[in-house]
Subunit: 594 residues, 2 copies
């Protein structure tokens, strides 16, 4: 049975010492972020994630969700657990207090989401999807929609779901065929069906607020002709309570590799009553309002699963006695396998990715906060562009490497890793979806090179690379961190070279750019995580020099970080060379020859 | 529903054009290996694998095996399928004809095993494990044991199972506690229990021939005190028919990540009657008689799953229309995703590994054949050492990269990859075990650096590296292959440098050697597959020059191979540098700090 200890100290370290969020106390929502407040928040989040969500993770996977005559029943215990999170005030953490939210900054909400994903990924979706729906209605809904729906979502009384994909419209949402006919009374009737829709039907809440992409009769073809509709499971009555059942139904559930405690299935609209959210034909743009948050959320899911998998692998490696480790005397008792360099290297590969990625993920969350909260509009724009630039990088990189980490954690278990009882194989199955949903990782790479490099005519990227270089320079003043900076400078040169190449191709030779995009994203991700390691090394080396904090904690950070800089980061040279090959040799075979 | 087309043409190409097995016609078993005979054999094998085993793969996974009061029931259809393979003569292909086998060379049997793994990995074990038991009894059994058991195994009337692992004895078999007490009549009574035992109980055959590692009362502690016992499920009666039920029972089955149609569970011995096989206290050595075959078999499982996964990914990528590919005009119909460079690169990564690995796997199979069949004892020894050297490399490398390939194939499916109906996620789950069983891949790396580099005082390895270099030199004479040779030479220099480093460490600094072992094995695997690509490129470029064979086939080989040499192989430089870091930075953290 796997265990999970939420990484409270590591999160607090990133927030208070690396990102120093307390220095943003002039921003609304950041005013209360003293180290004590943060510690208390994280401890409370850890308690409920560890105590309520985690124990249901493995049973939830075994039992799965059950479909019966259009109703979906969640696994045993999920109703009570959901109620505990709602009652405890863990839903709507970052929502606007005017609509019932807690008004906390995104950096704290995202810290909570990482823990929740590590504790129970399937369960986390019931809470996170409500946030996406809340954000869309808050940004685009009418006052009446906000008054009716937002407080119910913020309290957790109702949950939310997003309806995008159709059988022929996955990455290519422009081909959505679900129709919305005006009913003459200002409302609409929706007809059609969608697939791969998660949490649109379940038994956790009294009502479900569905946001559905559909096409109006006068909607032009393609992505620019889609509108967003609010289609509640139960139509609210005059008092705002769930009334008549709406004609939106779950026709079946998919059998999935993982995430089995979250219902994903086919949804049909048979004249379902909907209200328009935002402008007609602007539905896709409205959805993309929250794409940075949603993709950051998925990135943190990859990270959260890597964390819990790594913890269990380390536990197993300490407890499992088997043979003798290299360099030990012959004979004697069996020794824990954590003495094997290979097992340690697997654990350090996981851990050094996790700790660095956590800092980078929360840095992105802070940019999203700044993009909304900063008083200066130029700062807001800059922060928004930084978040937009890094979003595809962390979505793809954290989920690719999160999957690799979970697989390494399984490998540390030897044959036991293949047995369901140990729980580690569930992490491998669950995390696999994060590389696929919210845009496959290949889509993220295209988004990065086609749209994000050009933000502010390339100045967003240039400024970020300069900031990375500055961090390397600053590390030189701290002896134990200087080697981190030197390693980053070398990797950064690879990233600059690849970026120059990519900028030269992306307009002129789109096939070449696409050919290098995935390697470029990985290169970018490796460097960005390395940048965070330089910052952390500088902080921890200074703390050791000053004798502040727990020296064991900081020494561990330096040791883990050195592994990253020495072993993981040097892949950048190989990647930079491969990026510059573009699509060379990739396009010549006929499709039939594959 | 996934499909599978056995790679008959590719196997025939490797056997007849690359390895030229027909040139070994002077060897017994190779005498009949004309290209026509090989083609007929492969076509027959393909027909039964595609037609009988493959259709049961997905249903078998869904249904799994069922345990009931100690009996195990295989999924629907498995009994009939097993009978079809037995009746068709597909069991015992390479067994000694004196004991009922077909006497075919290992290269053909292994070609069949690759297909069978691709068609239905769980089913393949019922046949392959019998081979391991046959080989052990043939090598170490008494004449009476051979007479009684071998023909039954060869005909498929009875099946076999190997009983090694115990709860505290996995990689460390020396800690096996199962006891064997002499009964006074030459037989023994076994007491104890084992875990993770596969196919020791099922309903496919009338009897199961179990080989069990256990300790005699006078067995010294450790691996050198274990003996091997033959413990049939039913004790044969005087006529050699299954008689009284033996006291060896399946107490429970494990719930596994994959391979669910193969029963793996706890076996208990409650005074089970056993016969000694081979010498007392020499049981482990007897088991290791067939370790090269068994690990080659697992390597080919990794390859077989990669093949079927890649086929299905290519099929999906051709059929799935979604958006526009880079460089296409805006507007118009959705285009197949195989037009995306990223999707093609994923497919080429898989395919270029698969085709190269197939040649290397069959080269190892040929060495095993030569080690048994060659008239010259020196040649036999050299071939045996070559097989021994390459065995850990292909076991770990093919299964690691097979897993990567299956995951890439899943990724090509986008969200559909996560849905069980498409079948691709089963390949990812099934293949995962190949990295764990028959010695985890970490164990393979230690075996390679600790035992295999030193074979014949290093001459085995040196001769192999020279042969690789020769292949590169020979490729220079063929213009279209010369670039393959140049790429191999560069990678080979990395392997030589890493080998020199490793040879310097392995005796003097075992921790350093262990720290570099896994990267060294990957480096070795990449180069060895690259060597096969040089050989294939030379063959195919010559065929194109001579106008012989199907030019499309050979052009495809060259295009796929160039991708390997340009994109995959250059990782060797990074790996060589990482190998030479040894255990640097890996050992300093306390176990508790992970």
């Amino acid at each position: 049975m796997p265990t999970y200890a939420a990484p409270v100290d590591d999160l607090a370290y990133v927030l208070t010492q690396v990102l120093e969020v307390q220095r943003l106390a002039n921003l609304p929502a950041y005013a209360d972020l003293s180290p004590d407040f943060i510690q208390d928040f994280l401890r409370g989040a850890a308690d409920i994630c560890e105590g309520v969500a985690q124990p249901l993770n493995q049973p939830g996977d075994s039992e799965g969700c059950r479909w019966e005559n259009g109703s979906v029943f969640t696994p045993q215990g999920f109703r009570q657990a959901y109620k505990a999170f709602a009652d405890g005030g863990w839903i709507g953490l970052a929502f606007d207090p005017d609509h019932g939210g807690k008004g906390l900054p995104g950096v704290l909400a995202e810290s909570f989401y990482e823990m929740l994903a590590g504790a129970n990924l399937a369960f986390s979706g019931y809470i996170e999807l409500s946030e996406a729906v809340f954000t869309a209605i808050a940004a685009h809904g009418t006052d009446a929609q906000k008054r009716l729906y937002l407080p119910k979502l913020a309290s957790g009384e109702w949950t939310g779901a997003m309806h995008l994909t159709e059988a022929h419209a996955g990455s290519d949402l422009g081909r959505v065929r679900t129709r919305a006919e005006p009913a003459g009374d200002g409302s609409y009737r929706l007809h059609g069906s969608k697939i791969f829709i998660t949490n649109a039907e379940h038994d956790l809440a009294d009502n479900i607020v569905n946001l559905v992409l559909a096409r109006l009769p006068d909607g032009p073809p393609g992505a620019r002709g889609l509108s967003l509709f609010l289609v509640p499971k139960h139509l609210p009555d005059a008092d705002g309570n769930p009334g008549a059942r709406n004609a939106v139904h779950c026709a079946s559930l998919e059998h999935k590799m993982g995430l089995r405690a979250a219902p994903t299935g086919v949804i049909v609209y048979e004249g379902a009553v909907g209200e328009l959210v935002g402008q007609p034909h602007r539905g896709l743009q409205a959805m993309f309002t929250m794409v940075n948050d949603a993709r950051l959320g998925v990135a943190l899911q990859g990270l959260g699963i890597a964390e819990v998998a790594c913890q269990n692998a380390a536990h197993y490696a300490r407890e499992r006695h088997q043979g003798r480790v290299p360099g030990a005397d012959a004979g004697g008792e069996a020794q824990p396998i954590i003495g094997h360099p290979d097992v340690r290297a697997m654990l350090l590969t996981q851990r050094s990715f996790i700790d660095g990625a956590r800092a980078l993920g929360l840095w992105v969350a802070m940019q999203i906060d700044l993009s909304r909260l900063h008083p200066d509009p130029d700062e807001r724009r800059r922060a928004d562009e930084r978040a937009a630039l890094l979003t595809p990088v962390i979505k793809a990189h954290f989920t690719d490497r999160g999957s690799e980490a979970a697989n390494l954690a399984l490998q540390c278990h030897g044959g036991h890793g293949f047995i369901r009882e140990y729980g580690i194989e569930q992490f491998v199955r669950d995390v696999r979806v994060t590389q696929l949903y919210e845009g496959t990782n290949g889509i993220q790479a295209l988004d990065l090179v086609r749209r994000k490099l050009a933000l502010d005519e390339g100045r967003t990227l240039a400024a970020l690379l300069d900031e990375m270089a500055d961090a390397a320079v600053r590390s030189r003043a701290v002896p134990a961190a200087a080697c981190f900076g030197a390693a980053l400078e070398s990797a950064l040169a690879d990233l600059r070279r690849a970026t120059d190449w990519m900028n030269g191709q992306v307009g002129a030779a789109p096939v070449e750019a696409a050919g290098g995009a995935t390697d470029y994203l990985r290169l970018f991700g490796l460097v960005a995580v390395g940048w965070m390691w330089v910052r952390m090394a500088t902080v921890s080396a200074r703390a050791l020099d000053a004798g502040s904090g727990d020296p064991a904690f900081h020494r561990r950070k330096l040791a883990v970080g050195r592994f990253y800089m020495d072993r993981t980061l040097p892949e950048t040279a190989l990647l930079a060379r491969r990026v510059a090959r573009g699509a060379e040799g990739i396009m010549e075979l006929d499709a039939a020859a594959f």
